[in-house]
């Protein structure tokens, strides 16, 4: 609803802040005890919206995901529940340890990728497009089963090279404005970019309801917003670069509680 005008504003804000990132030396990444969820940078009103399930619009997607969980799908005619039973039991803690290493393809996969593997292999159904309402709904429903649990991603040693690639991407300057993710999120968190407070970019609440989007969106959508913000060419949805970035950020956020479905401005 407000996507277009806001994006313009955002770009103007980033352009206004130009020179800021270029001039300052690299500050160290926030220490574990200094880590703060984006939740803490929000207004009191947005915090209340997130904490009350009766007013959190993300719960609409969770409810839809719950319905999809027990809907017959694909040639197999199987539901997710046929194999996985009660999600409150079988999916508890799952979202908190994604992305995981998927040995069959020798690469990490995110939760959305894992859901689509089950659709293809176990339900004989077509994979759901990234950012489709159904895929977001299933991911929000599964994510909510881990709400409040500490993030445990990155345990598997086979993930290390991919995490390192994600970190390299996070620290690489890019786009016409020539900013790295770290320039904003490590060096200038807590300060303002136009009217927005720059958070530390912990992916603790995804998929989440962003007020600017007027909708639930994935972490990849958030990445794309930040890349467009520095006028870089975003990778297409589903790109391995996003999974590497998510892996790096989830490992960096280990121990922080999952908030899905969170609210963000």
């Amino acid at each position: 609803m407000s996507g277009l005008p806001n994006r313009k504003l955002r770009n103007a804000g980033i352009a206004g802040a130009l020179g800021l990132g270029a001039a300052l030396a690299l500050a160290p990444e926030a220490l574990p005890q200094e880590r703060r969820s984006g939740f803490e940078f929000m207004s009191r009103e947005s915090q209340v919206l997130q904490q009350d399930d009766t007013s959190n619009p993300g719960m609409l997607w969770v409810a839809e995901g719950e319905a999809l969980w027990s809907a017959r799908t694909g040639a197999s005619g199987r539901t997710c529940a046929d194999c996985h039973g009660d999600a409150a039991v079988s999916m508890k803690g799952v979202a908190a340890r994604y992305p995981v290493y998927f040995a069959e393809q020798s690469r990490p996969i995110d939760l959305q990728g894992r859901i689509n593997i089950c659709r293809e292999v176990n339900q004989n159904a077509t994979p759901l497009p990234y950012e489709s309402r159904e895929l977001l709904a299933l991911a929000a429903f599964i994510g909510k089963q881990s709400r409040g649990m500490p993030i445990t991603a990155g345990d598997d040693q086979r993930l290390e090279p991919f995490r390192a690639l994600g970190q390299e991407l996070y620290e690489r300057r890019q786009g016409q404005l020539n900013f790295s993710c770290a320039n904003c999120h490590d060096d200038h968190w807590g300060r303002k970019l136009a009217s927005s407070v720059i958070p530390q970019s912990h992916p603790t609440g995804y998929p989440l309801y962003r007020l600017e989007w007027q909708s639930v969106g994935s972490l990849q959508r958030r990445f794309r917003n930040c890349m467009v913000g520095v006028r870089a060419e975003p990778y297409p949805f589903g790109s391995p670069e996003y999974v590497n970035l998510e892996l790096f950020l989830m490992t960096r956020a280990r121990g922080m509680p999952l908030e899905t479905p969170a609210i963000r401005p």
Binding site: M59, A63, E64
Partner: protein, 106 residues
């Protein structure tokens, strides 16, 4: 698709003031936005929302394009008798929706 999340206390004491909350799934498309083809995206908002308690209207609202997607409406009423609280809303596409909740008043 989840159309709405309705929150009504299932039990109340007679004479008690109860809070009713409705979170309605709707794009609330303003009609002022341009789509990818440069043309205006047609307006589609909930224009009217109505709540009845055993058939009697207790709350209604006219909604306008400046209201965000997935509107949240909350209001109070006095619990008078057991029965049904019904929520109806209609949008620009002419689609009418109905959700109901039961309340026991002792």
């Amino acid at each position: 698709m989840a159309r709405a999340l309705i929150n009504v206390p299932s039990k109340a004491k007679r004479g008690e003031i109860i809070e009713i909350k409705a979170l309605v799934s709707h794009p609330m498309e303003t009609g002022y936005r341009t789509g990818p083809d440069g043309g205006l995206v047609p307006r589609d908002i909930i224009s009217r929302f109505l709540c009845t308690y055993n058939g009697e209207e207790i709350f209604s609202a006219d909604l306008f394009p400046a209201i965000a997607a997935n509107p949240f409406l909350s209001f109070t009423t006095v619990a008078t008798e057991s029965g049904r609280i019904a929520f109806r809303w209609i949008d620009d596409k002419g689609q009418a929706h109905l959700e109901t909740a039961e309340i026991v008043v002792e």
